[in-house]
Structure formats: C-alpha cells, structure tokens
Amino acid sequence: MEKRVVFRSSWLPYLLVAPQIAITVVFFFWPAFQAIHWSFLIQDAFGNSSQFVWFQNFQDLIRDEAYLDSFKVTAVFSTLVTFIGLAVALVLAVAADKVIKGAMAYKTLLIWPYAVASAVAGVLFAFLFAPSVGIVSFALRAMGVDWNWVLRGDQAMLLVVIASVWKQISYNFLFFLAGLQSIPKSLIEAAAIDGATPVRRFWTIVFPLLSPTTFFLLVVNIVHAFFDTFGVIDATTQGGPAGATQILVYKVYYDGVKAADLGSSSAQSVILMVIVIALTVVQFRFIERKVQY
C-alpha cells in the first residue's frame, strides 16, 4: 500500500528519519557487525590481546555439549511456555468471552501480570518456591513432594516455566479474547441451530476461526520464551542446576559477561541472530498471507 499523496523535499525526509536511522546504526548495526567480528576472535577479558581464529569459536560451540544442551533446554522451555501459556489463556478467554456480568472485572484482574517485569516475576516465584522459606515449597513438602529445584533440573525447569507462563498469560488472554469476540455470533448461532453441542462448536467453528490469532501468539510466545524470560531465569535458577534451565540467551550473557569469553559469546550471538531472523521470516510470511486473506 502506498500513499497517493506525497510531499516533495530534497532534504526534509532525510532529516526526519535521521534520528531513528542514527540510533539504529549506532545501537543495532554497529553492534551486530561487532558481534560478527568478535565471533572470529579470541580475546582476553581486558581486551589487551586478541587473535583472529576464523571459525574456531563456532567449531568449539558445536562440540560443546553444554551449548547443545542449551539448545535442547531452550526448545523444551519455549515449547512448554508456549503451549501451557496458550492453553491456559485460551480456557480463560473462552470462559470470559461468554461472561456478561463482571467481564470487565475479570479482564482487569487477569491482565495486570503483563505489567510485571520478568525479573520481578522471577523474584516473586523465587520467593514462593524458595527451598527453605518458600510457602509453596513448604506446601509441596507437606504433600510429600521431594521439592528441591536447586538440584533437580526438571523441577527448576518447572519453576521457570510456571513463572514465565504466569507472566505471559495476560497477553495471550487478551489476544484470544479479542479473537473470540471478532467471531461473528451468527456463525455460532447457525451451528447451534444445526445442533452442534458447545464443545463441538468450539472445536469445529471457534478454534479454526481463531487459528490466525493462535498462530500469531505461537510465534510471539516462542520469541517471548527465547528472550523476555531472561529476567525470570536470572532471578531464579541462573541457568542451573547443571545447566538445566540455561537457555541460549542466558548462555550468551553468562559467557560474555560473567565468564568474559567474548569470542564464544559473540559466536552464540551470531547463531541467535540467525535463529531470530528465521523466526521473523516465518512471522512475516504469515503476516503477508494474512494480508492477502
């Protein structure tokens, strides 16, 4: 789509885009190229010596089982966060869609976690699940669960998944609700007249019609799980135990900042960039299709 009307000026548009382009170049492109450059170097922490090593950082990564594990962890983590988050939000949205009384109140009560920083969410859950003082840990132990996420990877994973899902539910909920409310009532009424039960109506009419929203949320949630959960992980498990919750972004941060291994961290950044670009292309294609549709 293009505007029919245009203003003509040989300098004004450049002036107008200048701030954005300047910031983009300085804080996006320069660092991105820097990352690519560094991924070919081995440097000491203080930047006093560096050597060009071609693809050695990448080769090391491919052979590093911790890195491969991190891939697996990321896959498991984002899958869980995405599916649990979507499922719970969908149930809530379906329930809220049909509620007339108190709909606004429910909505208000359900959306505020979006405003909570993931690091703060992490802190809240770290407190709830703290091994010795946490109230949920206490309840779990009282129920006979051997709850110790500082050692048990699956429990640590569960913890960060719960915290991330908690934070993401409001977002999914809002989109599902909007999606549900945009489905023409007449369609559902027609199905009801055809004799379909509510459950059947949901699966045969509502859910398929929601699929654009669902697909969109799928991508957004995967991206969320990839990046926005950094705060949750840093505030709770810090990637442990034994790397069980070390997602890719956390490893980039850890290796680059805490372990001062800039070469490896940069190589991981480059790999992440490729992944993100792939994800974006998927999303973009989807948007294109939606436009045609």
Partner: protein
C-alpha cells in the same frame, strides 16, 4: 551509593569546586555488603583522616562477578578504579591481564612503602603470589571452609555434642544416627566446588591441576578425576541417596538451612559464623573439615576463598603512592585484628594473628580460630597453597554442573569428573590462547 561514600563524593566535589588543594582521589570498588561494607567504609575513613594527601573513596559495585565485570568494562572504556576487589576465582584472569594491573610487590617497591611478603600468612599470601614469590594482589578478606555442627541436634540424636566427626567415617556414623532420629536434613554444604573439590584436594594433599594447581604455568590441566576425587563425589552422591546429604545450591543458600535448624551439619565459609551466630537458636560448634583417614597426608591444610585487592593500571604515580600507603595502612596488625574479630575473615598477617591469639578472644568466642588453625595446619605444599586457573569462574561452574549431575543421578561420579576435567581443560586452553 552508601551514605558515607556519598558524603565523600560531596566533599570531593566541594574541594574541587573551591579549588582548594585537591586531594588525590583513590577509587576502590568492592563487593562488601551490610556490616562488611560498613567496615570497608570505616577503614577508608580512618585512612583518610590519618593523612591529608589521599582520599580513598569506596564504592559498592555489586557482587563479585558484577563488580569484576564492571571493572573490566570500565577498563576497556578507560576509567577503571584504582583498586578493585576481586574474588579468588578471578585471580588468574587478573594475573594474566598484563598492563591492566600493577602487581602489588612492584607498587610497594616503586612507592618505597615497607613491604615484606613473609609478614603475610603463607596460606593466604600463597594464593596471590606468582611462581617467583612476588605478591601480585593484596589479600583482603580471606576465609576457608569449616564444618559446623548443631549440638542440640546431636544431643537429640543421642550423639556426643562435644565430639564432632573428624573423618568421613565418623561422619557416616553420626549421619546415620541423625537420620534415624528424624532429622529432616542431616548435612548440607555451601560452595560445593570450593568445599568438595578445591578444599578437598588441598586438605588431602591432592593436586587440583598440574603445574602446581596452575600456579607454575598457564598450561596446566585439571586432575580432579583421580580415584580419590571420584570416590569422594561418589560418597556424596551415596549420602544424598541415603538422605544424609541435601544439596542446597552453589552459593551460601545452605547456611540458612543450617541456622534455621533444618540441617544438622554444614560445611561452608568460616565467614558465615557471624551470621549463624546471630540467627541460630541452638548451640553449635565450628570444626575442621572431615577428611578421609585412608588418604596419605590428610589432613594437610585448607585453602582460602574470599577476595583480594588488585591495583589497576594506567593511573598516575602519585595515585599509586596513595594506593601503596593505603595498603600499608590496611596491613597494620591492629586493623587486621579488628577485621578478623569483627567479621570472621582470617587475619592476613602473622602479626595480627599473633596479636589476637594473645587476647582471650578465642576463648570467649570458641570456634573463631578454627579457620586459621585449619589454614596453618601444616606448611602448604604445592597442592595446598592455592590454585590459579584461567577463567575459573567458568571452570568452577563446570565442576558444579557436573557435581549436580551426579547428585541428580544423571551420571556416575567417574563420568562426571572426567567430563569436568575435559570441559575444564578446554576452558584452560582457550584462556591460554587468549592470553598468549
């Protein structure tokens, strides 16, 4: 900013503004929180009042890794502090950073400040001394892992509270009893790698790595997959399975489990004593770390943890004179004795240790001398004077990951320690390559 440093800054600003004869400001970045932080401020103030040429400005910069990261970034950006407190695992990284740091022995020599490395406790100074015997950084807060026992729990389990287990064999007996008596958590530990790999090695006179634990050269290799190491880790896993050992995390999370009474025994830093004393509602004792009596030479001596002050490069000679003066000030026996008794960290000079010993402090505060005694149990061997591995922040994490893997039942101890050695060596090689 803490209030005191804020004041200091204000004063500095005021001085600069009035154009009065400016003092040379010395930035000190540290990671000491709470009472420890107050002590650092207090020492700085006292130093500032003792003379008028220099002004030490202490700034809390977050945890050890955070403050080190900040300093590295600041160095790269050209505004590093004069003095940086670096935790023990960062030692090799700092040593390798030629040009970024000024070795303390050189600093003191250039400033004509009296300095005798022999005045420092060998178990402490050794950690920060290069192969030629030159002290590279100034040890500040040093502690060592000790063994805490809940005497009340012992009593309840029918054990003799006055007799804490000396060996792991005795430990097993006690653990069994405690468990049978219904103790929810028998034993836990803070800092797993520091206690159960690094100090385990030193305590049993076993090498952690070749080349004298890396002190003699960057081309060292880890040796923590020896049969003795594997046996110890296997034992821990076995204890965990029996419910005698509860893993609490990589840092000091275990301490809360001990002073809340949940766990009856704890191995963690000697510096945790003050905290435990404040919070524990029961009697406890501080003891030497348990050892395996069938390993020859055990118990040897334990090694330290904590942090030292590194002097960053690229500053004026005048500022370095001030830094040297400050370090001289900090080594004074009075000050060291005060630091030791008020914080639980060990004194760094022999004179200070002697001074405290002469008082009745240890009698009044049983257990506070355990750390020193343990550190000086025997003259340090190449295996027990310290360690120096490149990028050991990462290296230690690898070891801890592997131990966690064993405790979680994911792999056997042999496999885990082999993996730890292999992965650790990769980090060492990379560090070696980066610091050619």
């Amino acid at each position: 900013m803490t209030r005191i440093s804020l004041q200091a800054t204000l004063v500095a600003c005021a001085l600069a503004a009035t154009g009065a004869q400016a003092q040379t400001e010395i930035q000190l970045w540290h990671s000491m929180t709470g009472a420890l932080g107050d002590k650092v401020n207090d020492f700085s103030n006292r130093f500032n009042q003792s003379q008028s040429q220099y002004k030490v400005v202490p700034v809390y910069k977050g945890s050890y890794p955070e403050s080190m990261t900040a300093a590295i970034a600041a160095y790269r950006a050209g505004n590093a502090p004069h003095i940086l407190q670096v935790f023990e695992v960062g030692t090799a990284t700092m040593m390798a950073a030629k040009g970024a740091v000024v070795p303390v022995y050189k600093l003191m020599k250039d400033a004509d400040e009296p300095f005798d490395p022999k005045a420092y406790m060998p178990a402490v100074a050794g950690y920060y001394t290069d192969y030629k015997g030159n002290m590279l950084s100034f040890p500040f807060n040093s502690s060592t892992p000790v063994f805490y026992v809940n005497k009340d729990a012992y009593k309840k389990a029918g054990l003799d509270p006055a007799k804490a287990p000396k060996t792991w064999k005795e430990f097993a007996v006690a653990a069994d009893k405690l468990k049978s008596a219904g103790q929810a958590c028998v034993y836990t530990t803070g800092w797993p790698s520091w206690v159960h790999v690094e100090n385990f090695s030193a305590w049993h006179n076993l090498p952690i790595g070749t080349k004298e634990n890396g002190v003699a050269g960057m081309d060292s290799q880890f040796t923590i997959n020896s049969p003795q190491h594997v046996r110890h880790i296997t034992m821990l896993a076995d204890y965990a399975k029996k419910g005698w050992f509860t893993y609490a995390g990589r840092r000091n999370e275990a301490e809360a489990k001990f002073f809340s009474g949940e766990c009856a025994m704890l191995t963690s830093s000697s510096a945790a004593q003050a905290n435990i004393r404040r919070n524990a509602k029961f009697e406890f004792s501080v003891n030497f770390l348990p050892y395996h009596d069938d390993i020859k030479g055990a118990p040897q001596n334990s090694i330290i943890g904590g942090a030292s002050f590194w002097v960053m490069g690229g500053k004026t000679n005048n500022a370095y004179k001030g830094v040297a003066k400050f370090m001289g000030f900090l080594s004074k026996p009075d000050l060291q004795a005060e630091w030791h008794t008020s914080t639980g960290y060990v004194p760094i000079t022999l004179a200070a240790a002697e001074q405290v010993r002469k008082t009745d402090y240890y009698k009044k505060n049983p257990g506070t001398d355990v750390a020193i005694r343990q550190l000086t149990n025997k003259a340090p061997t190449p295996n027990s004077k310290g360690l120096r591995f490149g990028n050991y922040v990462q290296g230690r994490e690898v070891i801890e990951e592997e131990i966690e893997g064993v405790l979680a039942g994911k792999k056997g101890a042999q496999q885990a320690m082999d993996d730890a050695v292999r992965r650790g060596n990769e980090i060492l090689r990379k560090f070696e390559a980066a610091n050619k």
